[in-house]
């Protein structure tokens, strides 16, 4: 590329890069700087304290819970959401009668605003008035009402279930698009060779959409790790921190108690985890692109 062209390209990119830098990376850098300072509403002048806030956060009662909860939450939601999404996509790809209506029904949870969905689930989980207890009591699964969101042993599972319900249509949509790009000839050839539906799925369909699966898993991992509204509305991170994850803790410390330095520290740890996930995402997209080029 001639030198003048390169310069021109960079010149054209400069405004976008400047906006990106100011809007995205400057606040991120600000968060990192803030994490080395002790600042709060009552002490608005930040005081440099080095790693003191990190020591406080890592040594705090909540930190191990938050790490464990974030891992459990992210892994469970991502796996279940992708599994359910894939199954829904396979179903929707079969050309069943009333497919348009079916797709609309499957997509409905995803279309609902996050807070609305969370409020609906909060009502459904209500120990006295909720639909779930009422159904389970009626069919004899429960002998007495269960407080799903108020019990440390069930609150996380209940939140995961609601999040999977809300998120699986997103995965289904992406998998459906991928399934429709699988070449029919390959499926037909496998059928002629005597492969049954499961064999066709395992040996033909899944390898053909492998790249999309990887990208989808990484993408939903990032989204789930940052998912805030479902848990906040359902439990506010409770009971007893049983459902606190990084975003809810950052919100509670930063906007509930105005301890900015500590919130920034949680934010930096969160950014580091996300950076690793983004790296996975980039590797996944690169390998998918490479496979496409060689295909």
């Amino acid at each position: 590329m001639p030198r003048n062209d390169t310069l021109f390209h960079w010149l054209m990119l400069a405004p976008a890069l400047a906006i990106l830098g100011v809007m995205l990376y400057w606040p991120m850098l600000g968060t990192v700087i803030e994490s080395f300072h002790d600042s709060s509403f009552i002490r608005p002048q930040p005081r440099f304290v080095g790693f003191e806030v990190y020591e406080r956060v890592f040594g705090g009662r909540d930190f191990p819970h938050i790490v464990r909860n974030s891992v459990v939450w992210t892994v469970a939601v991502v796996l279940l959401q992708n599994l359910l999404g894939l199954l829904a996509a396979l179903l929707l790809n079969r050309g069943l009668p009333g497919q348009g209506m079916l797709r609309a029904i499957v997509l409905l949870p995803w279309v609902l605003p996050g807070v609305v969905a969370a409020i609906v689930w909060r009502f459904m989980y209500d120990p006295q008035l909720g639909l779930i207890n009422s159904l389970l009591l009626r069919v004899g699964v429960l002998e007495q009402t269960a407080a799903w969101l108020a019990d440390s042993s069930t609150a996380m599972a209940a939140a995961i279930f609601a999040a999977v319900w809300k998120g699986f249509p997103f995965s289904a949509l992406i998998y459906l698009a991928a399934l429709q790009s699988v070449e029919r000839e390959q499926i037909e050839a496998a059928t002629i060779d005597g492969a049954g539906p499961v064999r066709r799925l395992v040996d033909v369909t899944l390898p053909a959409i492998r790249g999309v699966i990887v990208v989808n898993i990484v993408l939903t991992t990032i989204l789930t790790f940052n998912y805030f509204d479902m848990i906040w509305v359902l439990t506010r991170g409770g009971p007893q921190s049983a459902t606190h994850i990084f975003p809810t803790k950052i919100y509670e410390v930063g906007f509930g108690q105005f301890r900015f330095g500590e919130a920034a520290t949680y934010g930096v740890v969160s950014i580091l985890v996300l950076a690793v996930l983004v790296a996975f995402y980039l590797l996944a997209t690169r390998s998918t692109a490479a496979r496409r080029r060689t295909a």
Partner: protein, 354 residues
């Protein structure tokens, strides 16, 4: 304002859940309003941050003093011996609202629930057949703290002592928390994620016999078909129940370029003939409160008595953290933890805030 035509007042109303955040952001960004209502529990933090004006001398010069207001409300605006706000409106947690029909059916005397023993016995008798005696809640919210506080205060306990040291692990507080832990057997399941709002739903649909709310609950109950009444909190036999004060103070912001006009406005808002017309809770001005309660609330004398006897929450610039630690303690207790051990652990964390 007809008396001050040169002063124009622009009112901004912000819902409670986002109010504090908006106000703090405005203060930090240098865009604070001239005057704002501050929740009693925020006053110390705003004072410590030098965000609000010291009103001690202005109030003294204007003849505004503690005697004109509910004592607890006035005390909630005093931090480090200086006055940082003027009490605007008040209420007290909690009144025990009861469903008269359920009490009659169970043969329980409503007056009995004013004592610890009576409330427990009543709750036990009123629980069964899908109904619950008493509505307890321990979600992450301030209503959790104020109700538990009132049981602790009524038992002679404190949250912080005079030196600011945690007193939740001392016998009166521990006894009160043990009492609440036992009372939970007669409350609907799900205490740890339940709020006063959830209990209101159950009370309104006749599932719950006793709910804990401030007097603010009365307009809702008056619109319902329930046959209800209330008693002033609960205390051990022979003691007077002590409630926890709630309410708002008017403060002038340090950045205000219109301090004189702002001070005039504050004085106007808390005046005896005005205060009752501009509040949704109960006027903080004593005389205005008497008139307001007589016109708008059932049992005005009882409410006044409970207000006069209420305690404010601890005045600490780190109150929000203290409150969070208290919620954790109450959640531990309602989860069945050993009360003394949980209180000792909470006090270790609370004392670290000093």
């Amino acid at each position: 304002m007809a008396e001050n035509p040169d002063i124009r007042v622009e009112v901004t109303t912000i819902p409670y859940p986002e109010y504090q955040q908006r106000l703090l952001t405005a203060v930090q960004g240098g865009n604070a309003p001239d005057v704002a209502t501050l929740d009693q529990i925020w006053v110390a933090a705003f004072a410590e941050a030098n965000a609000v004006v010291d009103l001690t001398d202005l109030a003294a010069q204007a003849g505004i003093g503690r005697a004109q207001f509910f004592g607890g409300a006035w005390d909630s605006a005093v931090f480090n011996g200086r006055l940082w706000g003027i009490p605007f409106n008040v209420d007290v947690w909690q009144f025990s609202f009861y469903n008269r029909a359920l009490f009659e059916a169970a043969g329980v005397d409503p007056a009995s629930i004013a004592t610890f023993g009576g409330l427990r016995a009543a709750a036990e008798r009123l629980t069964g057949d899908g109904r619950f005696g008493v509505g307890l809640f321990a979600h992450r919210g301030e209503d959790t703290v104020v109700v538990a506080n009132s049981f602790i205060f009524s038992n002679g306990g404190e949250v912080l002592d005079a030196e600011g040291k945690c007193a939740l692990n001392r016998p009166p507080a521990v006894e009160a928390m043990r009492y609440l832990q036992d009372l939970a057997r007669f409350a609907p399941a799900g205490i740890l994620n339940a709020s006063s709002g959830d209990m209101r739903e159950l009370f309104l649909n006749g599932t719950l016999a006793i709910e804990f709310w401030p007097a603010l609950e009365q307009p809702t109950l008056l619109k319902s078909n329930l046959d209800w009444d209330f008693v002033n909190g609960t205390a051990p036999e022979g003691r007077t129940p002590v409630g926890t004060f709630g309410g708002w103070n008017l403060a002038i912001f340090d950045s205000s370029p219109h301090r004189e006009a702002a001070w005039k406005f504050v004085r106007f808002m808390v005046r005896e003939d005005v205060n009752g017309d501009v509040v949704d809770l109960i006027p903080a001005n004593l005389k205005a409160a008497e008139a307001f309660l007589a016109a708008n609330r059932r049992g005005p004398e009882r409410i006044l008595q409970h207000l006069a006897n209420a305690h404010p929450r601890p005045l600490s610039p780190r109150y929000l953290e203290l409150s969070d630690l208290q919620v954790r303690l109450y959640q531990d207790i309602f989860s069945g933890a050993d009360v003394q051990a949980a209180a000792d652990a909470a006090c270790r964390d609370i004392d670290r805030l000093r």
